[in-house]
């Protein structure tokens, strides 16, 4: 994102946006599928919200419209891809990069965006709490069961296709919240969602840890720091990718696994 902003505010903006996209990716990962293009739903929401804001639609209505559009697109994608094997699902999610490349929206300066990061941070925290409650619920339990052994999940009566459609739709909805709210960020630029948004979201999940909904938030904090820190902000995309790679190979449980290992000792 091109323009300088009060670093702390920018940190919170990034934390909120990446945290929401990451949470959405986490929900789908829990179901045994890797969503490599969740940022596309954020881009879709932003592309739906920005023109409405430009036309003077009340902010809340414009944001809600963007979220709904993203959720519907997520549901459609889920219906198309939920029956696929894990490799085919990942393959299909890569097609969302074409969406990221093609959506257009006016930028923050053109919209004269002036929002506070408080909303997006609050949304990310509320989403994490909601996701935590969801994980503990009956539906959350079955989503995890589907992700760990689909055959056994079917044997206890769980429909894995329906579980995946639900996860993808919820994931798209959370990404949609990020996209809609990001329109109010002064440095908003829809091109930020091209590939790098997906990497940031995945990095948040893997770095933070997949064991609970707090993991993506913890990872989002690290990604946001990298994006704002004067040592790394010029190469934030590379830092996220290298961080994701290192965590995947060396610490697949994320930083949360360090704490849980220490606690078990």
């Amino acid at each position: 994102m091109p323009h300088a902003f009060a670093p702390l505010a920018e940190l919170f903006w990034r934390f909120g946006i990446v945290g929401l996209i990451g949470l959405g990716t986490w929900l789908v990962l829990r179901c045994g599928r890797v969503m490599l293009g969740n940022a596309a739903f954020a881009a879709i929401a932003a592309a739906a919200t920005a023109p409405l804001v430009a036309r003077g639609t009340p902010d809340a209505v414009a944001a809600l419209a963007g979220v709904l559009v993203a959720a519907i697109c997520g549901a459609v994608f889920g219906l198309a891809a939920a029956r696929a094997t894990s490799a085919a699902f990942a393959l299909a999610s890569l097609s969302l990069w074409a969406v990221e490349l093609s959506v257009r929206a006016p930028s923050g300066p053109e919209l004269r965006s002036h929002g506070s990061p408080a909303f997006v941070v609050a949304a990310a925290i509320l989403a994490a709490i909601g996701a935590w409650r969801y994980a503990l619920s009956r539906h959350g339990h079955i989503a995890a069961a589907v992700g760990q052994d689909e055959r056994a999940a079917q044997a206890v009566g769980i429909d894995p296709v329906r579980a995946r459609i639900t996860a993808v739709t919820l994931g798209a909805l959370l990404a949609g919240v990020a996209g809609s709210l990001s329109v109010f960020y002064p440095g908003f630029d829809i091109t930020a969602y091209r590939l790098h948004g997906d990497i940031a979201g995945l990095a948040a999940v893997v770095l933070g840890g997949v064991g609970s909904s707090l993991g993506p938030l913890a990872g989002a904090a690290l990604v946001a720091i990298a994006a704002v820190s004067p040592f790394t902000k010029e190469h934030a995309a590379a830092v996220n990718a290298i961080g994701l790679l290192a965590a995947t190979i060396v610490l697949p449980g994320g930083i949360a696994s360090i704490f849980s290992r220490a606690a078990r000792r």
């Binding site: 045994g32 891809a81 990718a241 790679l245």
Partner: protein, 301 residues
Amino acid sequence: MHRRLERAQEFTLTQSFVDIAFKGSLYALFAIGYALTYSAGGTLNVAHPISAMAAAAAVSWLLARDQPIWIAGGGGVAAGAIAGVLVDRIVLWPARSRGGGPLGPARPLIAGLAALAAFGALAPEPERPTHALHAGIFRIGGFGVPKLMVEGTIACILALVAVVLLVRATRYGLGLRALASNAAAARAAGIGVEPMHIRTALLASACGALAAVTLFTAPYYFAGRSTPFDLPLAGLAAVALGGLASIPAAIVGAFVVATAQIFVPTADASDAVAAALLVLSIAFLPRGMFPVTRLRETDRA
């Protein structure tokens, strides 16, 4: 007037055939890279485009130093092949060999994507060649086709045939098919799994690199009619249409993608066609146009 219209239609038809032959062979060569690595490891190698990016960078560097096109092309293929093997050893092998852990079977997939993103962020954009690559035109029925395009298409088609023969009729191919069916049984039969992965990475990356070299040097595409996602998206759509585990099917899928793309005028629209075909084939043909019965556990996941 009628005759001039007929000539215009001839040119369009001829141009369409040339387009399909050119793009289809490129996409097929790139797509079989995905199919080969999936056969060996049961996972989608998202980092496959790195071989293409390394090849393009090498070609650009060599041409800038006034090397002849055949040396630049060969250097590009070699660079792409080496890059692919390095990615396999440094990124994918550790992710594969340590088991899934909390990330499950998604671990090599995520590692591959991270490697691709890191490479894309750190590697400089290669400069497309501008000088005398335009020289040389073949006339096909009155329609002028750049010489490099024809040569590139022939090279890609020959490479496709060579790969199919390699997989069908050699010891390596038998080992690959055994590994694709049952890794444990392949090991027990004495097939070295990791050497097989290395050879497959080399072959897959060389294919991807050749496709990238051909696309990168084709003056037809210099006018900005391709995007960086041209090859990867089309390659993915081809394997989705054909079926991840089958090389001949991926080739057919590639030509289907190329045929569909001739109806749209711009590069972005071409990407959209490839993406749409990808999603539609996953939704309605989950095992591809030519379903192959596999015993591989990952296919059931």
